[in-house]
């Protein structure tokens, strides 16, 4: 079924790109096609969990790959639906958006499923190139081009470092297959091999936006359409985080402990500095970029525990972040389409202008902050539980204290939405019904995941158990 997913996504993207010009005046139809494809792959992904073996010696079949298919198809499905929020579509054409999202998702699946650094790299680049184009989609605006250029430059540097690291690892272990690397690292970890691993981690750190490799994120978010920023905040992150977990368990086996230490360090720095910088932001998309950085830090902390609780935390965190972050970016998308600027000042009095939008935004923001009974809280709870289980007390205390800073900057958004009066010329706001229904669905998901997560957690636990 994994093979079917790969083929469907690759060909689906191609077909969508080819027929796109004929549908430019009907973005809804394209969204429906794309959504159907992602819905199909989502179901196939659920079925793929039982598969075993490898596909052509390149893609590992089984629960972890299935997890990637499910999570990334969910992202694709939501983004496909979200692409229809803007009536009239995007000026540069809507079909290509769906095609690029599809290839981005495909790249993510490949990089998680690969058993081979080559496939890993190809998957990573496929997903990266799709997002480079998507970020540049806002071409009419000055920031759009700037964002895409910065993102692509830094992304290319990250990829180059990753590639260089892979080369060093290959030089020392004589293999680019995961089992071979694990074998080579098991006996002796030479300084050169460690250097290679460090460079690989730097490259992946760029993709995950860990501090100090995060500099592109705020600009990329600010310059792109909220929908693209939303896709950027979840899809590459989901893929790379899961891919890193796979690398840790299947390839770095012998050298895991230094790598895990580095991850913890990067994650802690991301959580602390990301939270501090987020306090200074006035632009919502920049603020959410720093929020992503902080969330990826929390995720890294869980990843570095290399335990079942830690991996469940990673998987649940990704799912919770997908529904929460996309919900908020859909709100931004719908409001930008109505001419509401994505700044804290622009959102003043939003709760007065449209109470329903205000409440939905509040649910997403509170979930990002980690308020109980919402998905974001349980995600953080699992991270903290993994840290406590690993007896990583310093990391635990730093992480919980940063939650307080997080509350502060998330509550700044809510304060603007609910406590400030709308500006003089502001009137009641009607946002697109598509966006509204999508946000309601996601808000319900956020609450459901926070209150009654057992079945989802059980499935995630099975999916990641194979990594240990």
């Amino acid at each position: 079924m994994t093979l079917a997913v790969i083929l469907i996504l690759a060909l689906g993207g191609l077909v969508l790109a080819l027929i796109a010009p004929n549908f430019d005046d009907r973005p809804g139809a394209l969204g429906a096609i794309s959504g159907t494809i992602f819905g199909a792959t989502l179901l196939l992904g659920l079925g793929a969990a039982g598969e075993t073996g490898t596909l052509y010696g390149a893609i590992q079949l089984g629960p972890t790959t299935a997890l990637a298919i499910v999570l990334l198809s969910l992202v694709g499905l939501l983004v496909a639906a979200g692409a229809t929020i803007r009536e009239g579509g995007f000026a540069l054409g809507s079909g290509e958006v769906h095609a690029l999202v599809m290839w981005g998702v495909l790249g993510g699946i490949l990089l998680v499923g690969s058993v081979h650094l080559l496939i890993f790299y190809l998957g990573l680049e496929l997903s990266a190139y799709s997002t480079y184009v998507l970020v540049g989609y806002n071409r009419e605006r000055r920031f759009g081009t700037e964002a895409a250029a910065k993102y692509m430059m830094l992304g290319a540097v990250g990829s180059a470092l990753l590639l260089f690291g892979m080369a060093l690892v290959y030089a020392e272990t004589g293999s680019i297959g995961y089992p071979g690397i694990a074998l080579g690292l098991a006996y002796n970890t030479t300084p050169l091999a460690l250097g290679g691993l460090a460079l690989m981690l730097v490259g992946l750190g760029f993709k995950l936006a860990w501090v100090p490799f995060h500099a592109w994120a705020p600009d990329a978010y600010q310059g792109s359409f909220p929908l693209m920023a939303g896709f950027l905040s979840v899809a590459p992150k989901t893929a790379v985080a899961l891919g890193l977990a796979v690398l840790l368990s299947r390839a770095f086996g012998g050298a895991s402990s230094p790598v895990v230490g580095w991850i913890t360090g990067l994650a802690l720095v991301s959580v602390v500095l990301g939270s501090l910088w987020a306090l200074l932001q006035a632009d919502l998309k920049r603020l959410l970029a720093y929020s992503t950085i902080v969330h990826m830090g929390f995720l890294g902390l869980a990843l570095a525990t290399v335990s079942l609780t830690g991996y469940v935390a990673v998987a649940y965190y990704l799912l919770a972040y997908i529904v929460t972050s996309l919900g908020l970016f859909f709100a931004l998308e719908a409001l930008e389409a109505r001419g509401v600027p994505s700044t804290i000042a622009g959102w003043k009095g939003l709760g007065r202008r449209s109470p329903l939008v205000g409440v939905l935004v509040a649910i997403f923001v509170l979930s990002l902050a980690g308020v109980p009974l919402l998905a974001g809280f349980l995600a953080k709870l699992y991270v903290f539980a993994a840290l406590a289980e690993a007896q990583a007390w310093t990391a635990l205390v730093v992480a919980v204290v940063m939650v307080v800073l997080g509350y502060y900057f998330y509550f700044r958004i809510l304060a603007a939405v609910f406590l400030e009066e709308p500006g003089e010329e502001a009137q009641a706001l009607e946002i697109s019904p598509t966006a509204l229904s999508l946000m309601v669905v996601l808000a319900v998901a956020v609450i459901a995941l926070g209150v009654w997560p057992q079945s989802v957690l059980g499935w995630l636990q099975q999916a990641v158990a194979g990594l240990l």
């Binding site: 079942l308 609780t309 469940v312 409440v359 509170l366 308020v371 109980p372 009974l373 809280f377 349980l378 709870l381 699992y382 903290f384 539980a385 840290l387 406590a388 289980e389 007896q391 007390w393 635990l396 205390v397 919980v400 204290v401 939650v403 307080v404 509350y407 502060y408 509550f411 304060a415 609910f418 406590l419 997560p453 057992q454 957690l457 636990q461």
Partner: protein, 490 residues
């Protein structure tokens, strides 16, 4: 039944939030109805509680987060029942006190607060406790920030940040406790009863002191104890009347309740070790709280600061670790919940009429509005601990308990100054605000307002004269804890 008491208000809050109700007519009636219904239900549980057996009633437990070892476990015992019954009562009072408000959001927030607070008092799983402990913050933040007085934004943020710092450290301590206790239990469990059963093992942990303070800080901030109290004057003063009633009547109680429920039961050895520190903090809260009360010009701020004094007795009683002291602490919490809620209610109604909270601008209120004046008079006398009213028994038992505890005894002598100073502050307030000749006309209490005050007046007198209405329940809650503590300390 426990689930009903927690979730009915929360569901009702969602309902109130969704209906179209521009004048909040349906919202306030729904809120009042739900509060009264849950009040009756909780009273029924209260009366039916087998005080001679003790233990937990209405227990509900099901798997929630099996991998982490947390289950959704709630139950009620003699320690929690008084607060569980007080919560819907004060919700009803708050609804009546806000009868003139026309925003349905305010009433939805009150219902949310009610559900979350009952959840706090009923939780028997650390994670569930934390969940509700945090869930209280959000509605309270919005209640202060949206419906408060002039400096509401500052007060709300300060309240939120102070509370959060405490609660996240508590979360870290909870996780550490559960994972460090795992070897003794054979599994990771956040269940309160499981953890209490290995309190002896916890006492031997080298990190026990850290864990103790992780919990204690959160509760001392909530209580609040000097020097962690600086959020309280702002939050209480700036909150709307309903918010002040909730804050003073119930949110502060989460601190004292938590200290008894968790610090005493899980870490008795550490409590004994640090009881001198806690007693010193309590003494400072009592004397300093009273002294600052004396200096206030703002009537709401005055009552807020008197709470610091009142909650000092609670801490003193707990620090004594004697049966009488703990008894007094719980009694004082309930009494303070009733009397201070009544004070805030009356002051809120008074401020609505005078459009100021400045003491200097008020005069002869008793003369101008005799009903309001009389009830405020009674409340202020209750606040100074007049015998015959509820506050006296709480303060007296706390002090007596403190006197019986060897470590706390030296502090009790000095605490007496707090009583004298606070009495002075209250009497002076009575003189300045209530006595004298009225300068203008003032509308007296209407039926709704009297209905809001009546149950509190009744309880203030009842608990002052008939301690048997509360004592057996406290006994049933506290005695098993003390037995356990004795065992662990041996």
């Amino acid at each position: 039944m426990t689930l009903l008491l927690i979730f009915l208000p929360i569901v009702a809050a969602a309902f109130v939030g969704l209906i179209h109700d521009p004048r909040a007519e349906a919202a306030k009636r729904t809120a009042l109805g739900v509060a009264l219904f849950t009040l009756l239900a909780s009273l029924w549980v209260y009366v039916a509680y087998p005080v001679s057996y003790g233990g937990f009633v209405g227990e509900v437990k099901f798997d929630w987060l099996p991998l982490v070892g947390s289950s959704f476990h709630v139950g009620l015992d003699g320690l929690s029942l008084p607060f569980v019954a007080l919560t819907p009562l004060l919700t009803a009072v708050s609804v009546l006190a806000s009868w003139r408000k026309t925003d349905k959001g305010l009433f939805a927030l009150m219902l949310l607060l009610q559900g979350a607070l009952v959840g706090v008092f009923a939780a028997l799983d650390l994670i569930v406790f934390f969940l509700f402990f945090e869930a209280v913050l959000v509605p309270m933040y919005f209640m202060i920030a949206l419906w408060g007085y002039e400096e509401r934004r500052y007060a709300a943020v300060k309240f939120l940040l102070y509370s959060l710092v405490g609660s996240v450290l508590m979360l870290a301590a909870m996780l550490a406790t559960a994972y460090l206790a795992a070897p003794a239990l054979g599994r990771v469990s956040f269940d309160y009863l499981d953890l209490v059963s290995v309190a002896g093992y916890l006492a031997l942990l080298p990190a026990a002191g850290w864990l103790f303070w992780g919990f204690a800080l959160a509760f001392l901030i909530k209580l609040p104890a000097v020097p962690l109290h600086t959020w309280l004057p702002h939050a209480h003063t700036q909150a709307p009347t309903a918010g002040s009633i909730f804050l003073a009547g119930l949110l502060l109680k989460m601190g004292g309740y938590g200290l008894i429920r968790f610090n005493l039961a899980l870490f008795p050895g550490e409590l004994e070790r640090f009881s001198g520190v806690l007693a010193a903090v309590a003494l400072v809260s009592i004397v300093y709280g009273a002294y600052v009360t004396l200096a206030q010009r703002d009537l709401k701020r005055l009552i807020a600061n008197s709470s610091v004094n009142h909650m000092g007795y609670v801490l003193l009683g707990i620090a004594s670790m004697t049966a009488i002291g703990l008894h007094g602490a719980v009694y004082q919490m309930v009494a303070h919940g009733v009397i201070t809620a009544l004070m805030f209610l009356m002051v809120g109604l008074l401020a609505d009429r005078t459009h100021t909270r400045e003491i200097a601008a008020m005069k002869g209120v008793y003369n101008a509005a005799p009903k309001l004046g009389a009830i405020l008079w009674l409340a202020l006398l209750g606040g100074l601990g007049l015998p015959g009213l509820a506050g006296f028994l709480g303060e007296f038992q706390s002090l007596w308990g403190g006197f019986l505890g060897e470590v706390t005894r030296p502090y009790v002598w000095w605490a007496v100054f707090g009583i004298v100073i606070l009495a002075g502050a209250m009497l002076w307030t009575i003189q300045r605000v209530l006595l004298g000749k009225a300068e203008g006309e003032m509308e007296d209490l209407n039926v709704v307002e009297i209905a809001a005050a009546a149950p509190l007046v009744f309880l203030a007198v009842l608990l002052g004269l008939v301690p048997a209405a509360l004592t057996p329940w406290i006994d049933a809650g506290v005695q098993p804890l003390l037995t356990l503590v004795q065992e662990v300390l041996k």
